[in-house]
């Protein structure tokens, strides 16, 4: 997999993630960092939305089904003007808007309250069916974790999405290959992952989930098959951008940060570094 260096925008969004980690003195480090480019490309180049009218029925929907990666979502929602950046300083704190899992109705731009795993694809399926029944061309993107798709409910939803041939539904897997307990190949091997989605009736694609150009190429040109939902397996690196956290299951979640560790994170994410 080619390993392009992160550009300044990706580093900026990661610094917002670290600001949240610092604010709450806790958070899912690795799970958020692997997601940044997927969400960045969706919100920069693909989704139709207006932060001034977050409930506009005509908008596209993005559900972060792996809700524990919420700091990456909060970073992009702050960047797009849905949320005041000062909220990152109150992440998980009393009186703050941003909790350890995203909540619809509390955070503008959050489409579904997630955190318990395996819920987002079914909700997205319902939204995609609703769009079809209401003759809207809204696209629905559901971003899942690799550990998350251990859940049987994901595969129930995949069966249904395939049956309905929902070309407005996109299933994106943040395949960083490390779940909470360790490598996915050891805990609950998902391979052959792309074949599984294909067998459930999806058009399938694989992409480097940190390559912005490659993500734009697969996400920004419309559904590749007008009779099927699309599954994109995004190959990512857990903890991407924080050298000491990359590919280390111990950085799935972290709390009580040593201030020097936070400084090292910011240093690794300096523009132009």
């Amino acid at each position: 997999m080619p390993d392009k260096p992160l550009d300044d925008r990706s580093k900026f969004l990661r610094r917002l993630v670290v600001r949240g980690l610092e604010g709450g003195n806790r958070g899912h480090v690795g799970s958020s960092m692997s997601l940044v480019e997927i969400l960045r490309v969706l919100y920069d180049s693909v989704l139709r939305f207006d932060p001034k009218t977050p409930a506009d029925p005509a908008r596209d929907r993005c559900i972060l089904s792996k809700g524990h990666g919420c700091l990456a979502l909060y970073a992009i929602l702050v960047d797009k003007g849905f949320v005041d950046p000062k909220e990152l300083d109150r992440f998980c704190l009393p009186g703050g808007m941003l909790g350890g899992h995203p909540e619809r109705g509390k955070v503008p731009g959050v489409e579904a309250s997630t955190g318990a795993l395996g819920h987002g694809l079914s909700i997205g399926l319902g939204m995609a069916l609703a769009a079809r029944a209401q003759c809207r061309d809204s696209q629905v993107f559901v971003v899942m974790g690799d550990g998350e798709i251990n859940e049987g409910s994901i595969w129930e939803a995949a069966l249904c999405a395939g049956k309905h041939g929902l070309s407005n539904l996109w299933a994106l897997v943040d395949y960083n290959k490390i779940q909470s307990a360790g490598p996915t190949r050891d805990i609950q091997d998902l391979e052959p992952l792309t074949d599984k989605w294909r067998a459930f009736g999806f058009e399938t694609l694989e992409v480097d989930g940190h390559d912005v150009d490659a993500l734009e190429a697969v996400l920004g040109t419309g559904a590749p098959n007008l009779d099927k939902p699309t599954a994109i397996v995004c190959h990512t690196v857990k903890g991407k951008g924080i050298p000491f956290a990359e590919n280390d299951p111990k950085w799935h979640h972290h709390s009580k940060f040593d201030p020097r560790v936070l400084e090292e994170m910011y240093a690794a994410l300096e523009p132009g570094s």
Binding site: R104, M127, A133, S153, C160
Partner: protein, 315 residues
Amino acid sequence: MRKTCIKMIHELAQRDERVVFIGSDLSPGLLSEMKEEMPERYFMEGVTEANVIGMAAGMAMDNFVPYVNTIATFITRRCYEQVALDLCLHDLPVRLIGNGGGVVYAPLGPTHLAVEDMAIMRALPNMTVVAVSDAEEMVRLMEASLNWPHPIYIRLGKGGDPVISREEHGFEIGRGIVLKAAARPGAALLISTGVMTARTLAAAESLAGDGHDVEVLHMHTVKPLDAELLLERARHVHCICTVEEHSVIGGLGSAVVDALVDAGRFSLPVMRRLGLPDRFADSYGVQDDLLERFGLQPEQIAETVGELMRLDRVA
């Protein structure tokens, strides 16, 4: 009751384009006319309970009012987290219709008996729990359900239940109905829900025939319980007996006790909660067989209430 409920979904859908039907793996031909007439609002999704609840949530987030139907045990236990989070946390207007509440599926054994469904649904914030007495009351419930802004669990009986509800009593979600008023203060108060109200009413008539003054309160809505009516009617009674086709843990009886204790306005009268014992059913037969085994037929209810009234006098 079940046929009426399903038929009403089609009727409501004809009137209101927000209404959709989602089934799991139900009888062949169910709502076939609706399927033909409005295929974009008819879904039969197979044995995927967790998925259909999430799917209903997604549709409700985009302005639909989904009526979801499958067997009561599966629509409550199998997908409890989806009900809790996808429906209740988001407070969405999804209606869960559970076939065979209580011991309707007696011949099929304990895997199919929904005896704690009301308890676990009642424990969820934003959830409404309703068990009507008969088909005519089901029509009134379905009309009321259309614009109720919260999720609802609708418990269905076996079907063919005697009609004891009366149109003049009206129907409002969360409002109890006095089906038989006492002649004077100091009576026994019987409180029931669902199809047990017919049996409770029969027990009350039997007691009245023996000269006992008995009042019957029908609580079709177990949550939110009509605490105002309960407190008004319970104030001057000497004993209360709740009757339900449900575990004695967590259902109507528990809701009544909770409301009385929480009100804290007067000392509690002698009480008995009639329901199913805290154990899995250990025999088959039909619904009436199990109700008799657990003391829930009219003559058994009357006998229990009679004992309670004697207890009250001794006390």
